[in-house]
Amino acid sequence: MTAATTRAAAGPPAVAGDVLVVEGLVHRYGDLVAVDDVSFRIAPGETFGLLGPNGAGKTTTISMVAGLVPAHEGAVTVTGRSMARDPVAAKAHLGLVPQELAIYPELTARENLTFFGRLQRMRGKELDRRVAEVLELIGLEERAKDLTKEYSGGMKRRLNIGVGLLHRPALLILDEPTVGVDPQSRNAILESVEALAAEGVAVLYTTHYMEEAERLCDRIAVVDAGRLQAEGTRDELVRLTGGVDHVRLSGAGDIGAAAAALRSLPTVVEVAADRSALTLTVRDAARAVAHLVTAATAAGMSLDGVEVSRPDLESVFLHLTGKALRD
C-alpha cells in the first residue's frame, strides 16, 4: 500500500501491471474546472474509492476513465491501452455500472444482458453461457424472462451491475451503485464487489457514503471541488488528521481543576471545558483513557460518563476541506 499523500505532495506511485493509470486528468465545463489534475492508479484485485460529496467531480472523472467524455488534459490507460489513441481496445477491458439504472425497462433481464453482451462482441454459445452465469451470480435466474420494469429497485440495481460484469472486465467502474437501495440489497451489492475484487478485478468505486468506502476500498482518494485532496489507505488518511482522538469526560465537581491537571499530561493535546464536561484532544486514546480518568477524579471531578471517538473518513474530509462530507 502507498503512503497517504496530499495533492501538494508527489503524484501516485507506479505499481507494476496496473489495470488503470490515470495521469493529470483535467475537464472543464466552460470556465468551470470540474476535474483538476487528477491522477491515480489501480492494481489488479484492488478496490479504489473516490470519496467526495455530490458535485465533487467523481462522475466526470469516471466518465473520462470510461471514455465517455474527453479529457482536456491528461491521459487514461486501461490494461496498457490508451483511451485517447485506441478507445475501442481500452473500453473492451472495462465494465461501467452507471449511477442511473442503465437498462431497458421494456426488455427482460436476459434480453438486456444479451444486448450488452453483443456490444461487447460476444456471440453464440459463449454469450448464452455467460448470460446464464451472470443471471445466477446476481440471483435473477428465476426472473430472467420477466420485464425489468416489473423488478424491485434492488433487482434492477443487481442487473445494472450484472451488465457491467458480463464480459469479465479487468476494470469495473461503479458509480454510486447503492444510491436509493434498501439495506439488504445494499449489503448484497457490497458483498458482490468484495467477491469481484477477491477474484482479481480492479474496482473503481465512487461513493459519498464513508462507511462503504471504509468497508470496500483498499485505497481511497478524497475528492473535492474537482481536485484529489488526498489518497491512501483508510489508516493513512486518518493519520493526516494528526492521529489524534477525542475523549469527552462528563460529570460534576471541580471541573476547572480537572482541566488544569489534564493539560499537564503529555498525551493531551488540547482541553476544552464547559460546565458539565471536558472535551480532550489526545494522542492514542485507547492507551491514555485510564490515565485521563484517574487524573480527572484525583483533581476533584466526579465522572458520570466517558466517550471516546476515533477519527474516521468524515473527520479526514473535514480536516482536508473544512466542510462535512454531506455538505
Partner: protein, 383 residues
C-alpha cells in the same frame, strides 16, 4: 446491428403499439376506401319474396351488373330501406314467376330509398327485370314454334354466352377523375395511410431515443467497445427498421386483406425504403433536439399529422389548388405519394419514379447528417 435490433425489439414489445401500428392503419384504409374508393358496388338492392326461378334470375342479373344484393323478409327489407342500408327494395311474390312464364303482365313492387345512388340502382333493377321478361318472351316464342321449353332455354343461354358484345370505353371528361383511373377501391387509401403511419410512428418513436439517453443506456453503450459513429448508425438503422416494419406490414396487410394492387413490389418497396429513411432521419433529429420523451411523442404525432395532411395523405394531392400543391412538395409525403401514384396507376418503372426517389434520398441524406450531428451533441450533453 445490435443497437438496431434492440430498438426494433423495444418497438415490437410495446403493447401500446399494437393498436396504433397494426390495427388502426388498416381500419383507416377500410374507412377511407369505403368513403372515397373507386371500385365499390354500383348499388345495393334488397330482395324479398319466396325462392323462385324468377328471384334467382333477377338476383343473378343484378349481381352481374355489380349490385350488392341481400335476400330478406319483406319487413326486414322495408327496415333496410328506412335506415338507408339499401338503395332499393324489390318485392317478389310466388305468383310473379308463374305469371311471367305464362306470358301474362306482371307488376312488381320496387321501393326506392332516398340515397344519392338509388336512381342508378333502380335502373339496374329495371334492366334486370327487362332481361328476365325478354328471356321469358323468347322462350314462349320458341315453344310456340314447337321447341320444348328446356331446349329453348338451353339454346338461349348458349346464344347469350356466345354473343359478342361491343366493348364500351368510358372516357371521363373530368380531369381529376382521370387522375384516379386504374385505382382499385382501397389502392389510394392504402398508399396514403402507409405514408402517414410510417412517418408518424417513426417520429413519435423518437421518444425511445430520448429514453435511452435518459436511462443512461447510451452512456453504457458508448462505454462498450463501440465508436460514437457506430452507436449513431445503430440508432439510425433501428429507426429505419421500425419504419420498414410499419410500411411492409401495411403493404402486405392491404394486399392480402383488401386486394390492394401495389403493382411493382420491388419498386414500391424501394419508394418505401427511401421514404422510411427520411422518416428515420427525422426521428433522429427530433430525438436529439428534445429531452422530454412525452413531448417528443406529442411532437411526432402532431408533425406526422400536419405533414401528412399537407403531403396528400388525407386529401389526395390531385384535389389541391396549384399553390398548395407546390407547397406540399416541401414534405417527403408528397414526393412518395407521387411515386406510388405513378407505380399504381401508370405501371411506372424505375426511371419514371427516379426524380421522386432522388428527392427522397436527398432529404434522407440531409436529415441523417443533421440528425447524426445533433445526436452526437445531445450525447455530449447527456454525458
Amino acid at each position: 446491428m445490435a443497437i438496431a435490433g434492440v430498438e426494433l425489439r423495444r418497438f415490437l414489445k410495446d403493447r401500446s403499439n399494437i393498436f396504433f401500428v397494426f390495427v388502426f392503419p388498416l381500419l383507416l384504409v377500410v374507412l377511407l376506401g369505403s368513403q372515397f374508393g373507386g371500385e365499390g358496388p354500383t348499388g345495393r338492392a334488397a330482395v324479398a319474396g319466396p325462392p323462385s326461378e324468377l328471384r334467382s334470375d333477377v338476383v343473378h342479373r343484378l349481381e352481374e351488373a355489380g349490385v350488392e344484393v341481400t335476400l330478406s323478409e319483406a319487413d326486414a327489407v322495408r327496415q333496410q330501406i328506412a335506415r338507408g342500408r339499401t338503395d332499393v327494395g324489390l318485392f317478389l311474390t310466388a305468383a310473379d314467376g308463374t305469371s311471367l312464364a305464362a306470358g301474362r303482365d306482371v307488376t312488381v313492387d320496387l321501393v326506392v330509398g332516398s340515397q344519392a345512388g338509388s336512381r342508378l340502382t333502380v335502373q339496374h333493377v329495371r334492366t334486370a327485370m327487362d332481361g328476365v321478361a325478354d328471356q321469358a318472351g323468347q322462350v314462349a316464342a320458341l315453344t310456340g314454334a314447337g321447341i320444348d321449353a328446356a331446349t329453348a332455354e338451353r339454346a338461349l343461354r348458349t346464344a347469350a354466352a356466345d354473343a359478342s358484345r361491343p366493348r364500351v370505353t368510358v372516357t371521363d371528361a373530368d380531369g381529376e377523375a382521370q387522375q384516379f383511373a386504374g385505382l382499385g377501391r382501397f389502392d389510394l387509401s392504402a398508399a396514403t395511410q402507409l405514408l402517414l403511419f410510417v412517418f408518424l410512428i417513426s417520429v413519435a418513436g423518437s421518444a425511445t431515443l430520448i429514453q435511452a439517453r435518459r436511462y443512461g443506456v447510451m452512456a453504457r453503450v458508448l462505454a462498450a467497445p463501440v465508436s460514437t459513429r457506430q452507436a449513431i448508425s445503430g440508432e439510425a438503422l433501428g429507426r429505419f427498421s421500425i419504419a420498414m416494419v410499419q410500411g411492409v406490414y401495411i403493404m402486405a396487410g392491404t394486399a392480402l386483406l383488401f386486394g390492394v394492387e401495389w403493382d411493382s413490389w420491388p419498386l414500391s418497396l424501394l419508394v418505401l425504403a427511401a421514404f422510411g429513411a427520411v422518416a428515420a432521419a427525422a426521428a433522429m433529429v427530433v430525438g436529439s433536439v428534445m429531452d422530454n420523451d412525452a413531448a417528443a411523442n406529442g411532437v411526432g404525432v402532431g408533425a406526422g399529422l400536419v405533414l401528412g395532411a399537407l403531403g396528400g395523405c388525407m386529401t389526395p394531392l390531385e384535389l389541391f389548388p396549384d399553390t398548395l400543391r407546390t407547397v406540399a412538395h416541401l414534405t417527403p409525403h408528397a414526393w412518395a405519394y407521387e411515386a406510388f401514384a405513378e407505380i399504381q396507376r401508370h405501371e411506372a418503372g424505375l426511371l419514371d419514379v427516379a426524380p421522386q426517389l432522388g428527392v427522397l434520398a436527398a432529404m434522407a441524406t440531409a436529415l441523417l447528417v443533421l440528425g447524426g450531428w445533433l445526436l452526437e451533441r445531445s450525447l455530449d450533453r447527456a454525458l
